[in-house]
């Protein structure tokens, strides 16, 4: 179900916004417009919808307008043009008091540098949103304590923010946002200030949270790995424009242009690609019909020494080797049933390459990709390594 809809939203900073608007329509670049009018294009003509319960990631390089876009959603920044709808309600035309009401009830924000109030204790920080809404003292405390407890920080409730580590502070930031029980969470580079290990932990926590209490989350990052890890869909921005929206896979397999491809450079593909993406067609032998002579013939033809054994329904049975087939043929066997070996590892089509790598490096044979018992293909070490390297290759080719 649609939760949030953004229609042709534009934000231009500076006095000559009308002039600047005309120039953007003429496809003039951001720097040229700045030189001509002194106005900065923050966001230009952004349109997208976010569904309920979705994690929608916005990414892009520094200055591409991510922060501006997310602040347009709760109108910390007022758009120059365009409309924004939340639950079908147009929030771009609300009066101040109505807007405050929406901010209190529907959405909370988590900040890059945590945005905790230094003069308030952890509990008082967590209570802030409730306090603003005028919730009774006892209820306020209970709700805030519950949120802190979920974040595992109840013991610190009487401490001040500076007494906590960065990771803990951001957990408080998240707890403060959640204490309000908002429907939408806006997170502007919420994990960017944390070191990689803590960051990964927080991503996991966010995913877990998402599994437990379905929130609609708009998450900003400039790290593609993070985007791919947590995002249901990803929007990529450049110079204030959204240039591609899609699932991580869509963007990786079909990058809209060279700009997006440069992002892929620093993605570790093994964390994104699955077995399905890199498997190759398997040379098979049917254990119900074929004999060892057919097997040998096929191996010679394809110049391989292993065939994957299947039955009529393409159910995976194992494999046979050239040596066994030769022996069986000399012994006058009519079928290969007796020489099928079953110690070949199998993975599912959706298994991540990073999980395949340890299996395949310990194993002399290829790995079978099996879906519900059915053979889909095989993974060969050389091919996997090739595909991991290809991202860098593509970028270099382009240049």
């Amino acid at each position: 179900m649609e939760k949030l809809r953004v229609e042709n939203v534009t934000k231009i900073f500076g006095k000559q916004s009308a002039n600047a608007m005309k120039l953007v329509e003429k496809q003039m670049s951001k720097t040229e417009i700045l030189q001509k009018t002194g106005a900065t294009v923050g966001v230009y003509d952004a349109s997208f919808t976010v569904n309920e319960g979705e994690i929608f990631v916005i990414m892009g390089l520094s200055g591409s307008g991510k922060s501006t876009l997310i602040r347009l959603l709760n109108r910390l920044i007022d758009p120059t043009g365009g409309e924004i709808f939340i639950d079908g309600e147009k929030i771009t035309r609300l009066k101040k008091s109505q807007l405050q009401q929406i901010r209190r009830e529907k959405m909370s924000m988590v900040f890059q540098n945590f945005g905790l109030f230094p003069h308030r204790t952890i509990l008082e920080n967590t209570q802030y949103g409730l306090e603003i809404r005028g919730i009774a003292k006892e209820e306020k405390r209970l709700k805030a304590e519950k949120a802190l407890n979920n974040a595992g920080l109840l013991a610190y409730k009487d401490q001040y923010p500076h007494q906590l580590s960065g990771g803990m502070q951001q957990r408080v930031g998240l707890a403060r946002a959640l204490a309000n029980d908002p429907e939408i969470l806006l997170m502007d580079e919420a994990f960017s200030a944390l070191d990689p290990l803590i960051r990964k932990e927080m991503q996991d926590e966010l995913l877990e949270l998402q599994a437990n209490v379905q929130k609609t989350i708009i998450f900003i990052t400039h790290d593609l790995n993070e985007a791919l890890r947590i995002g249901d869909r990803i929007a990529i921005m450049k110079d204030g424009k959204i240039i591609q929206i899609g699932t991580g896979e869509e963007i990786l397999t079909n990058p809209a242009n060279a700009y997006i491809r440069t992002f892929l450079e620093d993605v570790d593909r093994s964390k994104v690609l699955t077995a399905e993406h890199v498997m190759v067609r398997a040379m098979t032998i049917n254990v119900e019909n074929d004999g060892p002579k057919v097997a040998l013939q096929r191996m010679r033809e394809e110049e391989i020494s292993v065939l994957i054994a299947i039955d009529k329904q393409r159910q995976f049975k194992g494999y046979i080797t050239a040596t066994d087939a030769l022996n069986a043929a000399q012994a006058g066997e009519k079928t290969v049933r007796e020489i099928v070996q079953t110690d070949m590892p199998t993975v599912e089509p959706t298994t991540l390459i990073q999980d395949v790598l340890p299996i395949i490096s310990d194993c002399p044979t290829p790995v079978a990709v099996v879906d519900d018992g059915k053979l889909r293909g095989i993974l060969i070490r050389g091919v996997i390594i090739e595909s991991l390297a290809s991202a860098t290759q593509e970028v270099e080719d382009h240049e």
Partner: protein, 283 residues
């Protein structure tokens, strides 16, 4: 050339200003009179109350406050006891209490006016642009210039003394309040806004508490400035240590002048250290 310059008639700036002042004094004379009489009565009663406290008790109270305010250190407490005993010993106790009242009233009024002005400046660029040059102007003026309107409005006595002191001491509180609020980090302001705070909620729950130590630094300066006006205010009849300094000056009594001057310095040091330590403690 000089002939030509002499042909320009003297511009009647002085006359115009005088007319405006006259109009002001006439129109608001009842208001000024009310403030003058009631203000004088109020301040006299405060001074009398202070004088009625046995000096030894007063000194001990100050020492105790100093002891705790400075984090249970003896330095300021001992200095206060010795210093105040010295002033008492020099028969200047009553004058000290008069000065105390003057500084107290001037500071409180300056703070009551200054903080809202500072808040206004921090919220409105227009107000900022208008008030800032006025503050600059006020700070470049020598303090005794303010005696002229003070006398015009209120005649002589302690009330015009307070009036002149307030104007002289006002700028730091206004400036520091403005600065303190503008310094609150953008992210914290956004955090407050993003939870749907009203302007007032944001001000009271986030901006003022965070700006507090900056504002306190401004208040400290305001208090010290109003103290420095004590001698000047005595020129228009405000009682206190300043009057002793002034009369010693007029009669060239070096010794008396020195004693009164030292007493003022002692008082200033105690006031300064106390207001500063309140600020540190509140951090």
């Amino acid at each position: 050339m000089s002939n030509f310059l002499n042909q320009i008639p003297v511009l009647p700036v002085g006359d115009v200003v005088e007319d405006i002042m006259d109009w002001f004094t006439d129109t608001f004379s009842s208001v000024f009179k009310f403030i003058q009489t009631d203000g004088t009565a109020l301040m006299d009663s405060v001074t009398n109350l202070l004088i009625s406290i046995p000096p030894i008790l007063f000194i001990l109270l100050i020492a105790i406050v100093a002891f705790f305010a400075t984090g249970k250190k003896f330095g300021l407490a001992i200095f206060s006891i010795l210093g105040l005993l010295f002033i008492y010993n020099q028969q200047l106790w009553e004058q000290l209490m008069n000065t105390f009242t003057l500084v107290l009233f001037a500071s409180v009024v300056a703070i009551i006016i200054g903080i809202p002005l500072g808040i206004l400046m921090s919220k409105s660029t227009l107000a900022d642009n208008i008030i800032k040059p006025i503050l600059d102007f006020m700070q470049t003026m020598p303090g005794f210039v303010y005696l002229i309107p003070a006398v015009a409005f209120f005649g002589i006595g302690v009330v015009p003394g307070v009036f002149a002191s307030v104007i002289f001491a006002l700028p730091p509180t206004v400036r520091f309040t403005n600065l303190g609020i503008r310094q609150v980090s953008k992210e914290l302001v956004e955090a407050a806004d993003s939870f749907g705070s009203t302007g007032l909620q944001k001000l009271l729950k986030v901006e003022l508490p965070i700006a507090k130590s900056t504002i306190m630094a401004g208040i400290n300066q305001t208090v010290l400035l109003s103290l420095s006006m004590v001698v000047i205010a005595s020129m228009i009849g405000a009682p206190g240590l300043g009057r002793e300094v002034l009369s010693a000056l007029q009669r060239a009594q070096v010794g008396n002048g020195f004693v009164a001057g030292i007493s003022l310095v002692i008082f200033a040091i105690i006031v300064d250290r106390l207001t500063q330590s309140f600020n540190k403690k509140s951090l």
